[in-house]
Every structure is written in C-alpha cells, then in structure tokens.
C-alpha cells in the first residue's frame, strides 16, 4: 500500500520484469569477457529498483506515475550506457541517474505550492542571473562547460528548468497590473521578455545554437499562455490560422527557394563522408546495420565515434538493441509527458509549468534524434535521461519534478472547516 491508498504491486512487478528482460538480452546476446560484468550490472539494477520502490512507499503524494516511469527509463538508460562497446557498468551514469531522481523530488517539493514560488519569483530570476554570469565569466565565448577539476558543469543546462519556472504563471498573477504611460502592463511579462532576449543573445554568443530552439519553444509556450490574458485580441482560431499559414508559407518558400539556400538547409553529409559528415554518416550506417532487433548489447561499433553516448546516443542504441527498443525508450519519455494530459493539473500555474517542461523534453528529443539522422541541422543536444551528462540529467530531473508537481499535488484542506449556514438550500432556492 502506498500513501494514496492504491496498490502498485502489479506496476512494481512489471517495471522490474521489463528491466530483467533487458538484462536477459544482455546475457543472451551481449558481448562480455567475463560473466562477472553482466552479473554485476544485473545485481545493481535489480537492487536499485527494489530500493527505489521501497523509498517510494514513504513519499506522501497523490500519484506515482512519474516516479515509476522515471525509474523505468533511468535504469533502462543505465543498461544502455553500460553496454556500449562492451558490457561493463556505467558507474558515472548510475550516480547521475540517482541524482536525477533526487532532483525530481526536489523539483516536486519546490513547485508543489505555487503561491510560495510566485511571491518569491525574484529568487529564480536571481538564479538565472547567476547562471548567466557564470557562463559569461567562466566558459568563454565559444565554450559551454565550466571545468571544476573533478567534474565539468554545463550551466546552460541548468538555466532550462529555472527558465521554465519563471515562464509559468497563474491567472491571478496576470491580474497584477500596473499603469505605465496609460497602458496597463504586467511587469513580470516584460521582465520575462527581457530575460528571453538576454538568454538568446547569450546562446548566440556561446555558439550554443542547439539550446536556442529549446528556449524558444519554452518562451513560445509562455507567450501563448500569456497573450490569451489579459488583453486577448488574438483568438485561438486566429493563432491556429496564422501558424498554419506561416507553416505553409515556409514550406512553399523552401520549395521554391534558390538552390544555395536549400543547400544550406540540407547539408549533403554523404558528399563529405570522411570529413564533416563522418559522425552522422557513421550514425546512419549504424541504424541500418542494427535493423529492427540490433546486433546485441556490446556488439556495436558506433561507440568509437565521438559523442556516441550523448549526441548520437539514439543511433548507438539502435545499433546494439535495434530500432524497436530505441523507439520504446523514446515512447517511455513521451508517456511521461502524456501522463500530464491524462491527469490534468488543477491550477493554471502547474499547467503552464507542465507545458514548459514538455516543450523542453520534446524540443531536445526532436533536435537530437532528427538532427543526428540528418533531417534537420545537426546540433549537439542531449536526449533527456538517455544521454550521458550530469548537468543534463539533473536539469531533466528537475523538469520531471515539475511535471509531477502538476499531478501529485497534495491539496491543503482547511483545518477548521467552515460550517454552512443552517438551512441555506431552502432559503436560496428559487423555483421557476
């Protein structure tokens, strides 16, 4: 029995079973020198699963969907990361997986009560400011990492969850208007536009163009949520119509664009297979070699290519585990987002928060998978939870926590319930 009164035995069992079935594949098809490697991997995965489930029992929340999905995805990705090239144990990735779960809980606790967040929003603007400053001071104009000696941190990854947080708003907050030069404005919206502008300029300065679409997607969602209130000149139909028209214009323009523009957009990686296109060509060849069911864990050759466990991790999984398993991993992340559609948040703040977090996840996955498969320009971004990288894992953990906050809120019930005035139903009834 969990705290919300439901029994999760079946789900626990299935999650465990899905990890065990993957471990069975490692045993059967894996490439390992000694049987010790897969045994250690199995032991750690199963033990950590059991520990996670045990801890979950003590968490007081209404829903556990996100937690179970997250445990499923994270241990799956630990198995993936452990098998690239040869079965071993990806200790670093495992530690970051635990950190991601902790961050998820932290993000959940942080955003559970939105009134506290909204009254102290300046703190989060402050955090973003500090992160931006740290980028300006420490990474240099073409870098993204800060080297702390024992570990490298990527501050721009941490900006993402906090940016999502400041993009979220409640309806009440939007009513907090001030009169400036005869126009009623919400200060927060203008601050947000400013912050967006600063972040965009910063990304440009760092040449971290991969993160740019992610921030733009979040800012776009925030914008959509705000223009409906309080001065809604743009109706929903108009927005949809305009975006459809915009998309059509882009498609037509691309079709009839002069050749050199199209060449820019569609880089022919195969014409320079051993030069700049090498990474992507190897990745695509790896998918083709893997087929539906893959070569088996540890039997791939893509791990030799740089960024095999981050930027082209999707293809690396395709090669060793097959396209179907790789698609399933992506499907799990999609379910993570879909769960917040099924179990809708009860407040506007959490809706905007969940949408922002979904925008980050979807943008990151799309940029990574479609980019590495040469459907859109290739930028080095990570797939949430699947790619290796501590900063990204922790940031995504926080975002998952935001998603959870929308579903698993424990609503405060008044200690001393008000007694309704006696006999009010009769008093107020008006019969036609």
């Amino acid at each position: 029995m969990y705290k919300n009164g439901l029994s999760y035995t079946g789900v626990t069992f299935l999650t465990l079973l899905s990890h065990i079935s993957m471990l069975a594949i490692v045993f059967a098809k894996g490439n390992y020198d000694s049987i010790l490697a897969p045994v250690i991997l199995s032991a750690v995965i199963i033990a950590s699963d059991l520990i996670y489930f045990f801890i979950l029992k003590f968490l007081k929340q209404n829903t556990y969907t996100i937690d179970f999905l997250l445990i499923g995805i994270l241990n799956m990705s630990v198995i993936f990361q452990s098998c690239f090239g040869k079965v071993s144990f990806a200790t670093k990735h495992f530690i970051f997986a635990i950190l991601a779960l902790v961050c998820c809980q932290a993000g959940f606790k942080l955003t559970q009560n939105h009134r506290i967040i909204e009254s102290r929003k300046y703190i989060f603007y402050g955090i973003i400011g500090v992160l931006i400053l740290s980028i300006l001071l420490f990474t240099g104009s073409r870098g993204m990492w800060i080297d702390l000696g024992f570990i490298t941190v990527q501050p721009s990854e941490f900006i993402k969850p906090f940016f999502v947080l400041v993009c979220a708003t409640s309806l009440k907050y939007q009513q907090n208007k001030h009169r400036v030069l005869g126009i009623r404005v919400v200060y927060d919206n203008w601050i947000l536009i400013g912050v967006t502008g600063v972040i965009v300029l910063l990304q440009w300065w760092c040449r971290d163009l991969g993160s740019l679409p992610t921030f733009m997607a979040v800012a776009g969602c925030a914008f959509l949520f705000r223009i409906c209130y309080p001065k809604a000149k743009l109706s929903k139909k108009l927005i949809i119509g305009l975006s459809v028209l915009g998309a059509a214009v882009i498609v037509i323009a691309l079709k009839f664009a002069p050749g050199y523009v199209q060449e820019r957009l569609h880089v022919d990686i195969w014409s320079d297979q051993n030069g700049t296109g090498w990474q992507q060509c190897q990745a695509l060849i790896a998918i083709a070699e893997g087929g539906w069911f893959g070569k088996g864990p540890g039997n791939g050759s893509l791990y030799k290519v740089p960024a095999a466990n981050t930027d082209i991790v999707f293809e690396a999984i395709c090669e060793e585990w097959g396209l179907l398993v790789a698609l399933l991993a992506v499907f799990m992340i999609i379910l993570l987002l879909a769960s917040s559609i099924i179990n809708t948040p009860r407040s506007y703040f959490h809706t905007t928060l969940a949408t922002g977090a979904s925008a980050v996840f979807i943008a990151q996955m799309a940029l990574n998978i479609f980019g590495s498969c040469n459907m859109i320009p290739f930028t080095g971004v990570t797939i949430p939870f699947i790619s290796q990288g501590g900063s990204s894992m922790m940031a995504c953990g926080l975002l998952a926590g935001f998603l959870k906050a929308g579903q698993a809120t424990v609503f405060p019930v008044p200690v001393r319930p008000q007694q309704p005035p006696q006999g009010y139903p009769q008093q107020n009834r008006r019969v036609q």
């Binding site: 079935s21 098809k29 010790l36 009134r115 309806l171 009440k172 809604a232 069911f293 179907l324 099924i342």
Partner: protein, 151 residues
C-alpha cells in the same frame, strides 16, 4: 561464488538459444509495463479528484434561470464574456474578463477584474471577498449561487 558464476555462464549459454524470443518478449514486456503505468494514471485521477473535491469543499456555481450547474474544478476560474474564459456568459452586460474565483487553503475568494458593471455579492458591490456557501453572486445581469454540491 565461483559456483554461482559458473551457473550464470551456463544460464547465459542456455539463454542465447532463445535470442529471438527473448528480444520479442522484452519488447512486449517493456511495452506492457509502460502502458500499465499510464493506465494506472486514470485510477490515480480518481484519487486526485477526491482529494481536490475535499479541498474545494464540494462547491459549485448554479444558475437557476438556465438550470445549469458549474462544478469548480480548478484553482482559478475566470468568468466573463470572452471566448477564452472558463465560465462564459455571452451577455453584453458582462465584461470580457469580469471576475475571478480563486481557491486558497480551502477558501474560495471572488475578485472583480475592473469590470464595467461591477460584481455584487449578496447585493453589495465588492472588489474582493471570501465566499460563504449560499452567497448570491451578480455578474452583469446574471445571478449565480455559490453552493455545496449534493452528494
């Protein structure tokens, strides 16, 4: 220990005979697992709904003129004439964004959003007030009753 490892390698050898079946089985199990978790969502939804109803004190808005009841299902409910609001009254006497109901710690509050015709509770023009069950709310020419849902 050595005996265990030997057993495991023999086990792995036996497993490798069923490679294809294992692959297919793993796919199905992961699939079923993911879908089962999400299917559980709908069960959890009921839990959340029950918790919410307790927190929102089972309140709803009713309009006897048109015989309809609006269950208060989220923390903030915008009322007005605009198409994007939660509770819409296509009546010219109602402003586009007229008033807003908010729930905070189990207490429902109504606040006027600078509407043209004002918001009245029990006949008094108000800016912001806590609602009690049985209150009569007047928005433009619409009269609504804030009351408890019957079980």
């Amino acid at each position: 220990m050595d005996g265990f490892l030997e057993f495991m390698s023999e086990f792995a050898n036996k497993l490798s005979a069923f490679k294809e079946i294992l692959s297919a089985a793993a796919l199905i199990i992961i699939d079923v697992c993911a879908l089962a978790i999400v299917a559980f969502c709908s069960k959890e939804k009921k839990v959340v709904q029950a918790q919410w109803s307790r927190a929102a004190r089972h309140m709803m808005l009713t309009d006897y003129d048109e015989n309809f009841a609006f269950t208060l299902n989220s923390e903030e409910i915008l009322m007005g004439r605009h198409i994007s609001v939660d509770l819409r009254f296509p009546d010219m006497s109602v402003s586009r964004y007229h008033a807003m109901l908010t729930l905070e710690d189990g207490i429902w509050t109504i606040s006027d959003l600078d509407s043209k015709s004002g918001t009245y509770v029990n006949g008094r023009k108000i800016k912001q007030i806590r609602l009690k069950p049985g209150d009569e709310i007047k928005i433009g020419q619409k009269t609504l009753y804030f009351r408890r849902k019957r079980a």
